[in-house]
Amino acid sequence: MGASPVSPGAPDASALLSVRGLDGGHGPIQVLADISFDVREGEVMAIIGANGAGKTTLLRILSGLIQPMRGSIRFAGREIAGSSSDEIVGLGLCQAPEGRRLFSGLTVEENLRLGSFRRRDKSRRVVADALDQVFAYFPRLAERRGQLAGTMSGGEQQMCAIGRALMAGPRLLAIDELSLGLAPVIVEELVAILYDIHEAGTTVLLVEQDVSVALGVADRALVMQSGKIVLQSSPDELLADDAIIKSYLGG
């Protein structure tokens, strides 16, 4: 089998994101142990794993919402372990979090514009261009720009969450649970748009429960189990091996 265990070593300077020996969790409770992986510029990396594997915890640490216990996170040539979330967003690591987390009482447009909060150049034109770009990806958001974000359907809210992350002009777009709670048609639509976003030059880190969705879009995939990365491989190799899917993902 081609799937190889992960070997840490020194950070990969050519990678956009390089995580080494990362331990972390919630308060004193350790969830992640010795996580190491790289995300190269321009690829789509998927992270899959059963409930409670620690995927969300990992993304929260990457975004600076929780401080790691140990280890190194290099992003765009900078060490960001210990940085605050606004610095990390400023460097271009942006996240559409689990559960969307839109500002429900704000309009769609206000949500999107806040996505640009940390842009260095916030001139009217730059923000308007970013907004147009998001509306080009998600025309339904343009129709609903004045609507309160909390009143939209789940699929529209996911679009808005991704759009909000895009408004910062990210180098790495992290999405936690793209398909959660959404009908298959909507998921397909979102995946197609994700391709476009990736084509336009954004590196993507996709956390996804639905293995077929994740492995359908990704160039490479990490499999997490109980806070560890147990496999790192190409989707084809993972898909070819039913035993892996069964043993790590329970299905």
Binding site: V89, F103, G105, R113, L114, F117, R164
Partner: protein
């Protein structure tokens, strides 16, 4: 007719004053989830500062913006070095801390200024009055009204139309999501308490112009502000405004028709009525909801 006009003008004045006080109070409550008892002390500080600036030769109308700037700084610092430590704690902690702060500040005022009422001698251009249909409207009241309504409009504009305002509202709704778009939540907290204290300072300064400054003024107006907040509910600019409207009109009605002694009963009665008949507040949004 004359009494109607008098009631109308009195109402406008109270609505303006209550609005700015309650907007500040509701802001810090909504965003930080802290019931800031020291809001009363901020009002009092505003009163004394305006008085002091006037006594040192500043025109009272210039003293108001200066007072506001100073109170903004006071609010910012108190947030950063005091309230910040209790923001994520239980409600009771925030109440205890700000209650203590309120006592300390009132104590300091008693020490430095005694319990005496300090009033400002108005400059000549504020001393006249206009007679509208028999109702006497003094210049100083007109000016205070205008300033209060102007400040209310500014707050609305800032919160509704600017990016920082949107960031404050976003932080109120989901602190973590705010972090994820790169908002410095701690700075937003500092800013929020700064604005809140600034509005309290304006209220205090205007009251000093209208009546006087005293150590007791803070608690007295904090009570009105609390009543307005209970009546109108949190979560928007409209809430405190509606509460101010209701309390302002009913207070001036009662004091004009039955005498000022009864006006203190108005707020308490209204709160009781609302709590019994419509516990969720006049607008259907409970005041205790964050």
């Amino acid at each position: 007719m004359q009494i109607c006009l008098q009631i109308f003008f009195d109402s406008l004045l109270l609505i303006g004053l209550y609005s700015i006080g309650a907007l500040g109070f509701a802001l810090i409550w909504g965003v930080l989830n802290v019931l800031n008892i020291a809001h009363g002390a901020f009002i009092m500080l505003g009163g004394y500062l305006t008085f002091l600036l006037w006594r040192n030769g500043l025109d009272p109308l210039l003293a108001i913006p200066a007072t506001m700037a100073a109170l903004f700084a006071v609010g910012w610092l108190i947030q950063r070095f005091l309230i910040d430590y209790v923001v994520s704690g239980p409600h009771s902690l925030g109440i205890a801390l700000t209650y203590g702060l309120n006592l300390v500040l009132i104590g300091l005022a008693l020490y430095f200024f005694t319990a005496e009422y300090r009033s400002i001698n108005l400059p000549p251009y504020l001393r006249g009055y206009v007679d509208i249909g028999g109702a006497k409207l003094t210049y100083v009241r007109i000016v205070i009204m205008l300033i209060a309504f102007f400040l209310t409009a500014c707050v609305w504009w800032f919160m509704d139309r600017t990016e920082l305002g949107a960031a404050i509202r976003a932080t109120r709704l989901d602190m973590e999501a705010a972090r994820l778009v790169g908002i410095k939540v701690r700075t937003i907290f500092d800013l929020t308490t700064g604005i809140s204290a600034m509005l309290a300072g304006a209220m205090g300064g205007l009251i000093a112009l209208l009546h006087s400054a005293s150590p007791a003024m803070g608690d007295q107006y904090l009570l009105q502000v609390l009543i307005v907040t209970v009546l109108g509910g949190l979560g928007s600019i409209a809430g405190p405004m509606l509460g101010a409207l209701v309390l302002g009109i009913s207070t001036s009605l009662v004091s004009n028709l039955w005498g000022a002694t009864y006006s203190t009963l108005v707020g308490a009665t209204l709160v009781l009525l609302v709590l019994v008949l419509k516990p969720s507040g006049l607008r259907g949004r409970a005041f205790y909801e964050a």
